[in-house]
């Protein structure tokens, strides 16, 4: 099935080729996903510094950018605007940075769900959503507090007793 879509997937790779986050907006089976990641890490991690941030891959274009030890990669159609994607990547990194307070790879490893929530505020269905960093931060905070209050209620004593006697 052909999807009308802007960004086909987002992958975060570490310099050693470890996957730190994947999000697929076009449908890929698990097998295809593994293959894509393998091919792309071969393509991107081998590229030296001071080269352009775009690689052609199977008729698509993968835009990547390295931040410290992490490569942020997004796959788009060949005739899409690469510079725009670079700005989206940067936007994403800035929001992560703001949320985690100078984000590092470990933050993403141990809070991978949070990274997904943030990404979901920026991209939906492969479309860029939210230009304002402040709004994203506010939305994420609202979600977090919703979850936290629910958690507090859930972990009240009565609840624990209820669970233990189940």
């Amino acid at each position: 099935m052909n999807y009308i879509i802007k960004i086909h997937f987002v992958i975060l790779l570490s310099r050693q080729g470890k996957v730190r986050l994947t999000k697929w907006y076009s449908p890929y089976s698990q097998k295809e996903r593994t293959k894509v990641i393998r091919e792309l890490s071969g393509l991107i991690l081998t590229r030296g510094p001071k080269l352009c941030n775009f690689v052609e891959w199977k008729g698509y274009k993968v835009v990547y950018r390295r931040y410290a030890s992490l490569y942020f990669c997004m796959c788009i159609d060949a005739d899409d605007n690469e510079l725009e994607i670079l700005e989206i990547i940067h936007h994403f990194v800035e929001i992560l940075d703001r949320y985690f307070g100078s984000v590092c790879e470990l933050d993403l490893i141990f809070n991978f769900h949070k990274a997904y929530y943030i990404l979901d505020e920026i991209l939906i269905a492969g479309e860029f959503q939210e230009p304002s960093k402040k709004t994203v931060a506010r939305l994420i905070a609202a979600q977090d507090s919703l979850v936290e209050t629910a958690q507090e209620q859930a972990s009240s004593i009565s609840n624990m007793i209820g669970q233990a006697t189940k």
Binding site: I4, K23, L83, H113, Y117, I124, V147
Partner: protein, 934 residues
């Protein structure tokens, strides 16, 4: 808590259901991550499989917390370690209705990562929960999660069912600054794209989003339209142009502007008045904007949308030159090259202006930039500059790294081959260039070069002498024999020099080259070609020799020469003739047999058989020579005359190119009903190991060289003969002089440029092309030789290509067209729910009769049919478009088929439906646009 979890929980591995102990001692995600990180590299797979076993047990727990944590761990493992999570789709579904926001969030993330619209079979089960979470009464974060899931894994069914639930979220009545509205717009786009039937429902709200005061909503809506317009037929969106134009004028956000420009790129070519109105704002943006992404988008819009507006093009080209000149930003250099390649040949002046930068980019450190530059240069190749550019690239390939060298060679080969060598005027030059490519140490394109050498031999009569000369250069170089990539080229060279031996200056030398000992390095099939070539050369030498004798005898008798002495002899010098005579003597002696003899024992039947043929010929020749010594007047011997005639007729018929469509032209004999017979066969044959072969092979002439004159007993030759050969032909064991071909008398087309092959690369490159890239008139000193073309055969690959998406997009844009023009019409999609396959849907739409899209489709398919039928006659004119891969053509042809099938379908329908209705619906379109734009 999780310290000893793995050991304690393993004791429960046989338990059918997880217990409380399980949930108490469950490993959290953090524990799992830490365990994975502290693991030595090799142990990961076993740890992962243990973790999955754990998760499989925990996920069945009735306790939602345990289940949620298990799901979370699985999500982590599947998204970062590539483990399969599709088996847990149902468990994710189980958690979706959870009242706990945490669980719900986990479940939604798990579902959105693992659900697949076509393979997840529990997907329909999520419909109800999604609808519930989408409803305005549920908290916005929940709706947001549901929108995400819907947009990621919408199947056509799901899209159809949930589209009405998107309406309240899309409408401005939901709280004005709701963060959900832009998300709903994005989800609506996805819903539309998987299920065009919902267009009547969703399109209007989406259009309303354009006039929202909230910039995020506008941005999302514009983004949706940008994707819709750029992925299919943009015509249906043309009536919205004024709306887009208004947003363009009002919006200051670069994000929105970029998306808008994408839409205008598609719309401007459709409506000249729109293009004219765009020039000013675009020029303004080009001048003022500091955001390179926006500038690049402007450039793209100008180049592909407004190529007729010189002012805008001029400004955009200046920007591109700035891009190309930015030394510190490879991205801009890359995009500059890409932008230039968007310009059509009409604006080749722009490339010409930046020629130096483009050529310099061939030496860029970034391979992607090099490739882009190469691509751009190849687009600029015309028959006036093909020589300069090809020589430049082939020379540069000598110095560049192996991968790029082959890309360069590829580019030259494919460009020059295009449309039966349409660009090549001087085939002598091209043939020698092919020879030069073969000598590139990195060359791995043997197959293509082989194909072209043989092809030119067959098609271009005038190029044959040069071909033979180049082939000789390749064959006598023993250094080339060891390179496995070159053996295909050598095979072509051997074939050429055998087939066109009459142009050879020294056939004897050829025979020696073809039989040199190092040929044992070649694969058997190539050796077979070599031996066959020797056979041809020998046969030729023999008949020439006899002819020669005949002439001398006849002339000494005072008779006039008859047709027997062909032009061949005349073209050969006397020296060559004597050489041939020597050759026979030489061949006939031990020499040839020494090499061929052992071959007759070869395992490979091809080599074996041909070696036998050759030996048979040699033995026969030897006998003839003995006749000569016996009686002086042997010419009068009838047997010799017969043999000469036989040999000549064996190779006299000229080989020609075979049309790809030749098979089609074989008339089917009357009374032969293929399908029926085959159907019978299929019915009668139970085992399928006797599947009938569908391909019938045939050749232009049957090569009856087989009947070897009862192969003479192959004389066993000792190794000493080989040693003797080495002594005699020491030449073949010395390193050859590289420039042998160049030292020959033929004036090289590229001589003046050769000295540039050393020194600083980019400077040289620039120097090399004093020649401009733009086409200009040149006077050719010699006329282009005739190139045999087979009308249909060579032109199969000519239809303009289309994207695979087309049929689907037609469907979508047709539906949107409807939604836009017939907004009042009730949706007729209600009864089509069950139909799943897109083919089925195509038919359905036709049946329910949305006449606008129908008549449009009719028009299109009609056009296409016209194009494909007319393409035969248009071949010559459309040279640039013709270079398409055959695959695409197949697709295209298939599509033609389908379309024509569809259109015939429509025709049938039109019979019993009033024609006026269709016209009525089409008519309002033109006035609407006029009204908006003027």
């Amino acid at each position: 808590m999780a310290g000893g979890s793995s050991s304690s929980s393993s004791s429960f591995s046989t338990a059918p259901a997880p217990s409380l102990v399980d949930s108490l001692f469950q490993r959290s995600l953090d524990d799992l991550i830490k365990a994975l990180r502290s693991q030595p590299a090799g142990a990961e797979p076993s740890l992962l499989s243990r973790a999955v076993a754990e998760i499989r047990r925990e996920i069945r727990s009735p306790d939602p917390d345990t289940k949620a944590v298990a799901l979370q761990k699985l999500t982590y493992l599947s998204s970062l370690h590539g483990l399969d999570a599709s088996w847990a789709a149902f468990h994710a579904l189980e958690l979706l209705p959870s009242p706990s926001p945490l669980h719900k969030r986990l479940a939604y993330v798990a579902a959105s990562l693992s659900f697949h619209p076509s393979t997840t079979d529990v997907l329909p089960l999520s419909t109800h929960q999604l609808r519930k979470d989408l409803s305005p009464s549920s908290p916005p974060p929940f709706s947001s999660l549901a929108l995400h899931l819907l947009s990621l894994s919408a199947s056509p069914d799901l899209a159809l069912h949930l589209a009405p639930d998107l309406l309240p979220l899309l409408s401005p009545r939901s709280s004005p600054s709701s963060p959900l509205r832009p998300k709903a717009a994005a989800a609506a786009l996805r819903t539309l794209s998987v299920c065009p039937d919902v267009a009547p429902l969703l399109f209007k709200p989406l259009v309303d989003c354009l006039s929202s005061p909230d910039l995020r909503v506008v941005s999302a809506a514009v983004g949706a339209f940008a994707e819709l317009a750029s992925s299919g037929d943009p015509t249906p969106y043309l009536p919205l142009a004024p709306e887009f134009y208004r947003v363009l004028a009002e919006s200051g956000s670069n994000w929105i502007l970029i998306k808008l420009l994408k839409i205008f790129t598609r719309l401007a070519p459709l409506e000249p008045r729109l293009a004219a109105r765009l020039v000013d704002p675009l020029c303004d943006l080009l001048r003022r904007s500091s955001a390179q992404s926006l500038v690049f988008e402007c450039v793209r819009t100008v180049f592909s949308g407004l190529p007729d507006h010189d002012r805008a093009v001029r400004l955009a080209v200046d920007k591109v030159r700035e891009f190309l000149a930015s030394a510190d930003d490879p991205n801009l250099r890359y995009l500059g090259l890409r932008a230039l390649s968007m310009l059509g040949p009409r604006h080749s002046w722009a490339v010409e202006e930046s020629r130096e930068a483009v050529i310099r980019s061939l030496a860029d450190p970034d391979p992607n930039i090099r490739r882009e530059a190469l691509h751009l240069i190849m687009v600029m190749v015309f028959d006036s500059n093909v020589v300069e550019i090809s020589v430049l690239l082939v020379n540069y390939a000598m110095k560049s790294d192996p991968i790029f060298a082959n890309e360069l060679l590829d580019a030259v080969l494919t460009t020059c081959r295009r449309n039966v060598y349409e660009l090549i005027v001087d085939f002598d030059w091209y043939v020698s260039l092919l020879g030069e490519m073969a000598r590139n140490p990195h060359c791995t394109r043997g197959e293509e070069i082989e194909r072209q050498i043989v092809d030119i031999g067959l098609r271009v009569r005038d190029a044959r002498p040069e071909l033979v000369r180049v082939a000789r250069g390749l064959l006598i170089d023993p250094a080339l024999l060891g390179n496995p990539f070159l053996c295909r080229i050598l095979s072509a060279a051997a074939w050429v020099s055998g087939e066109y031996v009459e142009f050879s200056r020294n056939p004897l030398e050829l025979v020696e080259a073809l039989l040199q000992p190092r040929t044992s390095l070649l694969p058997p099939l190539v050796r077979a070609v070599y031996i066959q070539a020797v056979f041809k050369v020998l046969a030729f030498c023999f008949s020439t020799y006899i002819d020669q004798l005949e002439i001398s005898q006849l002339s000494s008798l005072g008779n006039s020469t008859t047709g027997g002495a062909s032009s061949i002899v005349e073209s050969n010098t006397a020296a060559a003739a004597s050489c041939i005579a020597d050759g026979i003597a030489g061949m006939e002696s031990t020499d040839g047999i020494a090499t061929v003899g052992p071959l007759s024992e070869n395992d490979e039947v091809e080599v074996h058989g041909r070696a036998r043929n050759l030996l048979g010929l040699i033995h026969m020749l030897r006998e003839i020579l003995t006749w000569k010594t016996e009686e002086q007047g042997f010419i009068k011997d009838n047997r010799i005359g017969e043999i000469v005639n036989l040999l000549q007729s064996m190779f006299s018929e000229e080989l020609g190119p075979v049309s790809v469509n030749a098979q089609n032209r074989v008339p089917v004999p009357e009374g032969l009903v293929l399908e029926e017979n085959l159907a019978d066969l299929a019915w009668t044959l139970t085992e399928d190991d006797t599947a009938p072969s569908m391909s019938i092979s045939f050749s232009l002439r049957s090569h009856q060289h087989g009947k070897t004159k009862d192969a003479a007993a192959s004389s066993v030759r000792s190794a000493s003969l080989l040693a003797e050969h080495r002594k005699r032909h020491g030449l073949y064991y010395l390193p050859t002089e590289k420039d042998e071909t160049e030292s020959n008398d033929y004036p090289r087309a590229n001589d003046p440029l050769l000295p540039a092959s050393q020194g600083d690369v980019p400077e040289d490159l620039v120097k090399l092309t004093k020649q401009s890239l733009i086409p200009r008139k040149v006077k050719h000193t010699k006329p282009r030789p005739v190139v045999i073309k087979l009308d249909e055969g060579d032109g199969v690959s000519t239809f303009p290509s289309t994207t695979v998406k087309e049929s689907k997009d037609d469907l979508l844009s047709g539906a949107i067209h409807d939604a836009l023009l017939g907004e009042g019409k009730p949706s007729s999609s209600q009864k089509r729910y069950s139909d799943k396959s897109s083919r089925g849907r195509v038919k359905d739409i036709a049946d329910t009769g949305e006449s606008v899209s129908q008549s449009k489709e009719n028009l299109e398919s009609g056009n296409r049919e016209h194009r494909s039928s007319g393409s035969k006659s248009k071949h010559r004119g459309h040279g640039k478009e013709r270079h398409r891969s055959p695959q695409k053509n197949e697709e295209k042809e298939e599509k033609n088929h389908r379309n024509s099938a569809r259109s015939s379908h429509h025709h049938e329908r039109h019979k019993h439906r009033p024609r006026g209705e269709a016209l009525l619906n089409v008519a309002p379109r033109a006035p609407v646009i006029q009204h908006f734009l003027l």
